[in-house]
Amino acid sequence: MIKIIEKFVPAGVRIEEYGNIYAYEMKVDDIVSAVNHLYFIEKLPLKLITAMDERKESGSFRVMYIFGIPKENLFIAPYIRLKGSEEFPSVVKTIHEASGYERKIKTFFGLDPVGHPNPRPVILHGNWPKDVFPLRKDFDWRSRPAEAKNDYAFTKVEGEGIYEIPVGPVHAGIIEPGHFRFSVAGEEIVLLEPKLGYKHRGVEKLFEILPLKEKLKLSERVSGDSSFSHSLAFCQAVEALGGVEVSAEAANLRLIYAELERLANHLGDIGAIMIDTGFSFGGSHGARLREMVMRLNERLTGSRYLRGVNAIGGVTKDISPEAKDSLLKDLEALEKDFSEVMAIAENSNSLFNRLKETGTLNYQIALDHGTVGVAGRAVGILNDARLDYPYAAYPDYDLEIASETKGDVYSRFYVRVKEVYSSIKLIEQALQKNHEGKILNDKKIELKKNSLAVGIVEGWRGDIVYFVATDAQGEITRVEPRDPSFLNWTVLGHAGKGNVVPDFPLINKSFNLSYSGNDL
């Protein structure tokens, strides 16, 4: 293991090994070049930049830059300690996708990314005081700071005939709240700027406070439609910290449940994309097929959203051999049903006219913003955590990455269609495999002290990353969930630019990003 890491790390640096993550301290002055080296020379994907308040233990803040090493399921994390300083050098000038992370560190830890071109606060709004930083340890989660009245400056477009349309956070339909500021020339979108944060609930702070069992429940509620993937990523990180073994049978079940979640959401999205073009036939059948999977979920686990299924050390719900047989039959019927609906949809020229060349995302822009998941694969960025960081039972099965190249709504639609078929195939293969062993390892969980771990899971939107750290008592002191939406929201404006306003809901739907996963 250490061999793989050594080639990435500058000579003479002491590498600290924690389960699946290798961390090493760099001098503050050297960090920018070290991070640039990993990003540009070694071409490692940046997974997360996070901060920790360790002023009590070591009198410093720690800022970590976590990179993944694809195929190895390992993570490498150079970090810096800020002693007596509340500033750290920004890497945004060269690595654009770091922007959101650094802004978040500034907003929640009050650490200044020096050199960041646009360090506006994220998530917290103008009513939150500028000098209160909720993720610092000395901030009491029960306190309620006085209401502030700060400004938030939207980017202004000037010129003849340009006008601004504010949309949301309350919408005409029942969707999550988010504000979009359009600057338009006639019907053409010149600039689109989303402002989110309306669903901020203090999830990261709550993760520090709640007992372990409740933390697991909280992870299921970070983004409701990805309950299983989020809790799986959290469990994997905690299992790495606790050295908890997961049986082959439990790993296999985790794959089945995770793919069922993907299946339900992709079917729902495929229908929703069609309904947003006004193609009501496809829309209602998408909703119907999604409901079929949701009912399968309920039949198997008692929860439509697969809540309460994941546990640290495995899963709580087994699938009996009879249930496996009937699930196989149901999936076969579902696949046939789905291909019939798609056959009719593919005959509709008016539908494909709306999907093609709408909301095209440029490859380079997508790459620079670190676009992940469905949106990334639709422009040809071949990232899939199931293949890059094989977890659960994924190494046992063949999986072809679903990709398209154009980056328009049509591509995102078809990535989903391909993944519906591959998910069904994966579940069918997994159902035919039987392993011996308990589905839940009930060994008492004792977490390593002063340790770190990363859990990564390919949710249906993209990879979900959980960073978990423990203190000297083996208690979890910091959890940062990174939903794929946090990155993908940044490209929505670019995909919308140049389109007409009435096409925006369709473009938005083709990404279908999570507000609550972003706002935490």
């Binding site: 601004e164 349309i165 504010p166 949309v167 919408h171 005409a172 339909g173 029942i174 019907e187 069609m274 947003d276 073009t277 006004g278 193609f279 009501s280 036939f281 829309g283 209602s284 059948h285 119907r288 509709s348 008016s350 539908l351 006219n353 709306r354 709408t358 007409v500 306003v501 009435p502 096409d503 925006f504 809901p505």
Partner: protein, 307 residues
């Protein structure tokens, strides 16, 4: 007896229009494998809205407050002045130019009202509605002009009578004009592929965006007027292009039969609209002019052929 005919003529459009909206929704639901609401649901919605309080923006002027009445009244007048089930009761308003521009007048007030409350969506809806309305006008006017030339009359009732006895050689241009009229009808009534009456996405709306600020009684009037407008256009399509079955006699059995035939014709049209809306996606906004030009060109060709 003539009084009876007048009463029926005046009340027929507002009384039946919600029913056909309900029927289209029901057919669409069935085509999507849903059960769907009762065909009487639009009546219940109207009753519900009439019993509700309304909220009017502080920035709204008299235009916002009066427009629903103007729009609704125009649809009533127009509904009473077109051939529905009988050819007997023409009035001075039954001129096809008067009818078209009365309806354009109501569209004008709707667009003004959309902008009046000052919300971003209202302005959007109005701008889109006027774009579509301006392009629709050509096709609408020229398709009816074809009939007027063929019948050598501007009066809708006499057009309807003459078309029924036209020689078969004129059927082709009348058919072309019908296609042109049909496209204009879909645009005017705010149906697919121009507008999605069922959408909840405020950014894609046309008609719904203009009335987004309305609530309660005024919303009920506007919704009702929109249903009336649909029935007026459907009635024109049915009785100008297929003018058979209008009663010429003032006896109860004849009137009943004519009413039945009228309902039947509108049902066929509603079925067509519902099937269209279930089988295609809405067009991109910038493709709509193409379709409206088709309507215009078809009508011009029809005129060329008939002269």
């Amino acid at each position: 007896m003539t009084i009876l005919i007048w009463i029926i003529q005046l009340l027929l459009v507002p009384a039946l229009s919600p029913l056909f909206i309900g029927i289209i929704r029901k057919i669409k639901a069935k085509l999507q494998n849903r059960r769907g609401a009762s065909i009487c649901q639009p009546y219940r919605d109207l009753r519900k809205l009439f019993n509700k309080d309304e909220v009017i923006s502080e920035d709204a002027s008299w235009i916002f407050r009066f427009s629903p009445f103007i729009i609704f009244a125009i649809t009533l007048v127009v509904g009473a002045s077109i051939p529905l089930f009988t050819g007997l009761i023409s009035n001075p308003l039954s001129d096809f130019l008067v009818i078209i521009y009365l309806l354009a007048f109501s569209t004008f007030f709707l667009a003004l009202a959309g902008m009046d409350a000052g919300s971003a969506f209202g302005g959007f809806g109005s701008s889109r509605e006027m774009t579509v309305a301006a392009l629709t006008e050509g096709g609408l006017l020229f398709s009816l002009l074809t009939l007027a030339i063929a019948a050598k009359s501007m009066n809708l009732f006499s057009i309807s009578q003459k078309i029924a006895s036209l020689p078969s050689s004129s059927l082709f241009p009348v058919g072309l004009a019908f296609v042109g009229f049909l496209i204009a009808f879909l645009a005017e009534a705010g149906r697919f592929p121009f507008d999605n009456p069922a959408t909840h996405l405020e950014l894609t709306m046309i008609h719904e965006a203009m009335i987004l600020e309305y609530s309660g009684k005024r919303l009920a009037l506007i919704e009702w007027a929109a249903a009336n407008k649909f029935l007026i256009f459907a009635g024109l399509a049915a009785n100008l292009f297929f003018p058979w079955g209008l009663t010429g006699q003032v006896t109860l059995p004849h009137i009943a039969l004519a009413l039945l035939l009228f309902t039947g014709k509108i049902l066929v049209l509603s079925l067509g609209v519902a099937i269209l809306e279930s089988s295609i996606a809405k067009f991109r906004f910038f493709r709509l002019p193409d379709l409206l030009f088709v309507s215009f060109i078809l009508s011009v060709i029809a005129i060329g052929l008939i002269i």
